[in-house]
Amino acid sequence: MSPLPAEWRALAGAVEAVLVVATEPVPPRMLAELLELPVEQVEQLCAALAAAYEEEERGFEIVRVAGGYRLQSHPAYQGYVERFVLDDSPQRLSPAAMETLAIIAYKQPISRAQIAAIRGVSSEGVVRLLAGRGYVEPVGRDQGPGQAVLFGTTALFLERLGLDSVADLPPLGQFVPDSAAVEELEHVLRLRGEE
């Protein structure tokens, strides 16, 4: 049997039954209400269940994504799944679109003008593309003059990246060029006589 404590089996069964009918990630709070358990216990239960699936080498797994738990196929069986469902996922994003998405993800809420200032080019078309894909959406308006529309990322964005929340994005600091790289850039721009 699974490494799950026996007295948890009924509760785990309830979680399995709910996840099998859910079409969106199920927030732990919702499971807690259904199971009449504290949220922390639900989280322990789901973590234990996920670990058990992994150990049993199941074809599915439980992941925490976009603020909830989701049942999905295990990457190990990707080959079978791919042959079964014809790929319906949208086209990969271009590097420029991905870069804009990264700017919005890390700097949200952010206006088109602020995005353009970072990228050095107008980002109107790219922002529209990302909004069309459902990765970003208007989340408010700037308080300043002009009241620019501010953009943020969506739950679909988190689902597509397999993240639980934007707090789980890899820290931006790790992408800042290291001092050698900055020095190299600086070298390019250096004035004569300072060498």
């Binding site: 009918v21 420029a96 679109a97 970072i118 593309l129 993240l163 250096r190 004035l191 004569r192």
Partner: protein, 250 residues
């Protein structure tokens, strides 16, 4: 259709510059600005249109680079004023900060791509409740009529007119400066000093602008004298030429 340039493929001047620096691994002394310009022009040709924002941003960068390079080509720095030097350092810092930021988000974008690729190796369960649970969920179509559906279809299909600049607040009237000149030439002679305000009491904003330009034109032709005693004060117009001079002058 509105004015739109596809910039999804073109990644911007910072990116271009970064790639160039990475490819050449040289300092500004050796950066061939003509190559950067050529690459930019080629890219613009390929896109078939010029995005003013892109072009402006590019000019700023190219000019900054050019200026930095000129400094390096100059024999010494004695002839460089301190102020200019400081301005140059500022420009360099500005460029450096933006290059660092651009590179940071390039790295972040690559990380997001990796996450996306990893996540796409799993497929979410989306089957939903089976028919046993059909009656649990409320009927979302209760009370919805085919007409409601038609209205929703019209809303959806009509919802997105092409982006446009609203112009309905602009008057349709066409006012030419020449018309305004003719008007002034018809009214001013023999009238004595008169304020511009009095001349244009009932004029529309467009008419007002045309009249002002007409007045400047007449002043240039030395047909009127203008006097304004204080800033933003009333402008007094005095006709000074006989009407015959106008025909001779024009």
């Amino acid at each position: 259709m509105g004015y739109e340039v596809r910039t999804e493929v073109y990644e911007g001047p910072f990116d271009l510059l970064l790639r160039l620096i990475a490819a050449q691994e040289v300092d500004v002394w050796e950066v061939r600005i003509s190559e950067i310009v050529d690459a930019f022009v080629a890219e613009t040709r390929r896109l078939g249109a010029i995005d003013l924002e892109v072009a402006t941003e590019f000019l700023v960068i190219a000019a900054t680079l050019l200026e930095l390079k000129c400094r390096r080509l100059l024999p010494g720095r004695d002839d460089v004023e301190l102020e200019e030097e400081l301005a140059l350092l500022e420009a360099r810092d500005y460029l450096l900060a933006r290059l660092v930021e651009a590179r940071t988000f390039q790295g972040a974008a690559q990380a997001l791509s990796r996450l996306e690729r990893a996540a796409s190796r799993s497929t979410a369960r989306r089957a939903g409740p089976d028919e046993r649970f059909e009656r649990c969920a409320p009927d979302l179509l209760a009370g919805v009529t085919p007409e409601d559906l038609l209205a929703a279809a019209c809303r959806a299909l009509a919802a997105r007119p092409a982006p446009r600049v609203p112009t309905e607040h602009l008057p349709d009237e066409e006012v030419s400066v020449q018309d305004a000149i003719d008007e002034l030439v018809a009214t001013l002679p023999g009238r004595g000093p008169v304020t511009f305000r009095a001349l244009t009491t009932s004029a529309s904003p467009a008419h007002l602008v045309a009249s002002f330009l007409a007045l400047l034109e007449l002043y240039k032709r030395e047909l009127v004298e203008l006097e304004q005693l204080s800033t933003f004060g009333d402008l007094t117009v005095t006709w000074k030429a006989p009407s015959a001079a106008l025909q001779a002058g024009s």
